[in-house]
C-alpha cells in the first residue's frame, strides 16, 4: 500500500522526522533550564521562613530527595560535598526518570506551587491561552490574507495606504500595541477593562454574566494580537499574490478571456497555500506571544505560568509546559505539511519524486 501511495509514504516519512525532532526537543527542553546551577529548592526553602541551620538542612534534604535533585547514599541521606553543597544527581539519570514518568502521564509536581501537580497547572491555564490565541490567530490570518490579496490585486490607493500600514503594524513590538491599548482604552478612556480575563465579581461558569464579562475583557487582548497578525500576514499574502498575478498561467488565463473573478480565485488559492505555513508558525509562536499579552493585560493563561516557572527555576513546570508547546507546534506544522500535500498537487508530485 505504501508503495502505491506516495502521499501516504511521504506523510509517514515526515512523521518520522517530526518524531525525531520531538525527541530532540524533549531533551533540549529538559536540559536547557537545568543548565544554570541555581538550586530550585532554595525557592521553597525561602518561603518556609527562618529556621536553624540543622533543620534547614533536614528540610532541604527532604526536598532534594523528593525532587530527585541530589544523590543519596545507601541510607537515603543526601550526599554533600565538603563545602556543604548537595551533590547533584546526574542530569542523565534525572532525564531517564523524567521520560519514564512522562510516559506514564505524570509530569511531576511543581516546585514553586508545591505540591500542585504540573498537569493541574497546565490544565488550569491552557483553556485561557487557547481561547484567546487560537481564534485571534486564525481570524487574523484570514483577515490579513484577505487584506493582502486585496492590496495586491487593487494596488493603487489600497496598496499605497494599506500596505505601509500593515508594514507599520508588524514593526510595532507586540507589547507596544498592548501597552497603548491599556493606556488609551483601558486607563485614559476606560472603555474596556485594563486587566484580567473576567470581572472578579463573576466566576467562570456558563452564565450570561460571566460570558459577557469575559467577552468584554477579551476585546483588548484580542485586538493587540489581531492587529499584529493581520499586519504580518497581509504583507506575506501581498507578495504572494503579486507573484501569482505575474505567472504564466495567469497571463494565459487572461488571454483565454477568463473572467477576472476566476483568475483572482486562482491566484488567491495558489497564494494561500504557502501562507498555511505561516499559520502553523503563528500557532507555534502562540505561547511566546501569550507571555506578553498575559503580562500586559494580567490575562490568565499558560504564558504567565511559564514565565513564573522560569523565573523560579520551577523545572517540572518548565519542562511540562515546553513539552506541551513542542507537541502543539509539531502537530500544527505536521498538519500543515500534510494538508499542503493534499491541497497542492505540485507538492504532491514533489513528494512522489522524492519517494523515488
Amino acid at each position: 500500500m505504501l508503495r502505491k501511495n506516495p502521499t501516504l509514504r511521504h506523510v509517514l516519512g515526515r512523521a518520522g522526522w517530526y518524531f525525531v525532532t520531538f525527541l530532540v526537543a524533549v531533551a533540549v527542553n529538559f536540559f536547557l533550564p537545568r543548565l544554570g546551577d541555581a538550586n530550585p529548592i532554595d525557592a521553597i526553602m525561602a518561603r518556609g521562613g527562618a529556621m536553624d541551620s540543622v533543620s534547614a538542612r533536614e528540610k532541604e534534604d527532604a526536598y532534594l530527595r523528593e525532587f530527585g535533585l541530589a544523590q543519596t547514599d545507601s541510607n537515603g541521606k543526601v550526599v554533600r560535598s565538603a563545602d556543604g553543597k548537595p551533590v547533584k544527581t546526574g542530569l542523565a539519570s534525572q532525564f531517564v526518570n523524567y521520560v519514564e514518568m512522562s510516559l506514564s502521564g505524570d509530569l511531576g509536581t511543581s516546585i514553586l506551587q508545591y505540591p500542585k501537580p504540573v498537569m493541574d497547572i497546565i490544565l488550569d491555564a491552557i483553556p485561557w491561552t487557547i481561547c484567546l490565541q487560537l481564534p485571534t490567530i486564525i481570524l487574523g490570518w484570514l483577515f490579513g490574507n484577505l487584506l493582502g490579496a486585496l492590496a495586491a490585486y487593487k494596488r493603487g490607493v489600497f496598496d499605497r495606504v494599506l500596505y505601509p500600514l500593515a508594514l507599520l503594524a508588524s514593526a510595532i513590538p507586540a507589547f507596544c500595541v498592548g501597552i497603548l491599548l491599556v493606556y488609551g482604552l483601558g486607563i485614559k478612556h476606560q472603555w474596556f477593562p485594563a486587566v484580567g480575563g473576567y470581572d472578579p465579581s463573576t466566576t467562570p461558569e456558563l452564565s450570561g454574566a460571566f460570558l459577557s464579562s469575559a467577552a468584554y475583557h477579551y476585546v483588548m487582548p484580542f485586538l493587540s494580537i489581531f492587529l499584529i497578525v493581520v499586519g504580518g500576514q497581509s504583507i506575506g499574502m501581498r507578495s504572494m499574490v503579486i507573484y501569482e498575478l505575474g505567472t504564466d498561467y495567469v497571463k494565459y488565463a487572461k488571454l483565454l478571456g477568463m473572467k477576472e473573478s476566476k483568475i483572482l480565485l486562482y491566484t488567491f488559492r495558489n497564494a494561500m497555500l504557502p501562507q498555511l505555513t505561516g499559520l502553523a508558525l503563528a500557532i507555534g509562536a502562540m505561547v511566546g506571544g501569550a507571555l506578553i499579552t498575559e503580562i500586559i493585560f494580567s490575562y490568565p493563561g499558560l504564558g504567565m505560568a511559564i514565565l513564573t516557572a522560569i523565573q523560579g527555576n520551577d523545572y517540572p513546570v518548565i519542562t511540562g509546559c515546553t513539552l506541551l508547546l513542542s507537541i502543539t507546534v509539531l502537530v500544527a506544522n505536521f498538519s500543515v505539511d500534510v494538508l499542503l500535500g493534499l491541497l497542492d498537487p505540485r507538492i504532491r508530485a514533489a513528494q512522489a519524486a522524492e519517494a523515488n
Binding site: W17, A171, P173, Y183, I242
Partner: protein, 278 residues
C-alpha cells in the same frame, strides 16, 4: 548594478533609507548635539517635557533624551550584532547545506524544526536566566543571533538548493573548484542580495526581540536599551500615570527602526526578486 541604481529610484526605498539613516544619525551624532548623561539626576522624577529637557525625565529624574539616545545605540548594537551572527551562521550553513545536501542538510532540517518547536522567546528566556554571570547586552545579542540563525539558514537553503543544479556550478566543478570555492564564488554571490535582505530582517527582528525580552524584565542588567526604558516605564507606572514621554518616544524609536528596515527590505525585494517585479 543597474538594479542597485534602480533601487535608488524607488521612493519607498529612499524613504526607508532616509528614516533608517535618520535613526542611525541620531545614535551616532546625537551625543555631539546633546549632552548625554544617563547617570545624574537632573530633576524630579517624571518631569514633563520642557525647555531644558525636551522629553522630560524618567522615574529617577534622568534626562529622557540622553536615555533614548543611549538606548537607541544599545538597541542598534544588539540588532546588528544579532543580525550579523544570525545571518553569517545561517547563510554559511544554509548555502552549504543546500549545495551539499545529505546528512548536513538533514541535521539542518531537524535543527530548524527544533527551533520551531521550542519558541525562540522561550529559549532566550531559559538561556538568559541560566547565565549566572549576568546578562550583558552582548550576551543577549549573541543569544538572539544564535537562536534565530536557523531562520536565515532555512531561507537561504531553499535558494541555494535551487542554484545547485545550475550549469555554472557544474562548469566550476570541471574547472577544478573545491566545494568551498563553489559555495563562496558560485552560489553565495547569487544569494547576496537575498542574504542582505535576510540580514535586514534579522536585524529588525533582533531589535524587536530585545525590546520584548527587556520588556519582560529579562533584558540586560547593566545597559540601557529601548526595551529597558519601556520596562522601566511600565514597572514604574509611567503608563498608569499618563507619563507618555517615558514610553511613547521609546516605542516610536523601536517602531521606526523596524519599520524603516522593513520598508527597505520590501523595496529591495521588489527590485531584486524578479518574482515580484511589476
Amino acid at each position: 548594478m543597474e538594479l542597485v541604481k534602480g533601487l535608488f529610484k524607488i521612493p519607498s526605498f529612499l524613504f526607508g533609507l532616509a528614516l533608517f539613516l535618520g535613526t542611525l544619525g541620531l545614535a551616532f551624532f546625537g551625543p555631539l548635539l546633546w549632552h548625554i548623561d544617563v547617570v545624574s539626576r537632573v530633576g524630579d522624577p517624571y518631569m514633563a517635557p520642557g525647555a531644558g529637557h525636551w522629553l522630560g525625565t524618567d522615574h529617577l529624574g534622568v534626562d529622557m533624551v540622553s536615555m533614548l539616545i543611549t538606548g537607541l545605540r544599545a538597541s542598534l548594537y544588539v540588532g546588528f550584532l544579532a543580525g550579523v551572527v544570525a545571518t553569517v551562521v545561517g547563510t554559511l550553513i544554509g548555502v552549504y547545506g543546500g549545495y551539499k545536501g545529505g546528512l548536513l542538510d538533514d541535521i539542518l532540517t531537524v535543527a530548524t524544526n527544533l527551533f520551531l518547536v521550542i519558541p525562540t522567546l522561550i529559549v532566550l528566556i531559559l538561556l538568559s536566566s541560566s547565565m549566572e554571570k549576568g546578562r550583558s547586552l552582548t550576551l543577549i545579542a549573541l543569544i538572539i543571533g544564535c537562536t534565530t540563525w536557523t531562520w536565515s539558514a532555512r531561507a537561504v537553503r531553499a535558494q541555494s538548493a535551487s542554484l545547485r543544479a545550475r550549469d555554472h556550478v557544474a562548469l566550476a566543478r570541471i574547472n577544478g573548484y573545491s566545494t568551498i570555492e563553489i559555495v563562496l564564488e558560485q552560489i553565495l554571490p547569487y544569494l547576496l542580495s537575498y542574504v542582505f535582505m535576510v540580514f535586514i530582517l534579522q536585524t529588525a527582528t533582533a531589535i524587536l526581540t530585545e525590546a520584548t525580552i527587556s520588556m519582560l524584565g529579562l533584558g540586560p542588567y547593566d545597559s540601557i536599551s529601548l526595551g529597558k526604558i519601556l520596562n522601566d516605564a511600565r514597572t514604574n507606572e509611567a503608563l498608569i500615570g499618563g507619563k507618555w514621554w517615558a514610553f511613547i518616544p521609546a516605542m516610536v524609536l523601536v517602531t521606526v527602526i523596524a519599520f524603516s528596515l522593513y520598508v527597505i527590505n520590501t523595496a529591495m525585494e521588489g527590485v531584486f526578486n524578479p518574482r515580484l517585479r511589476k
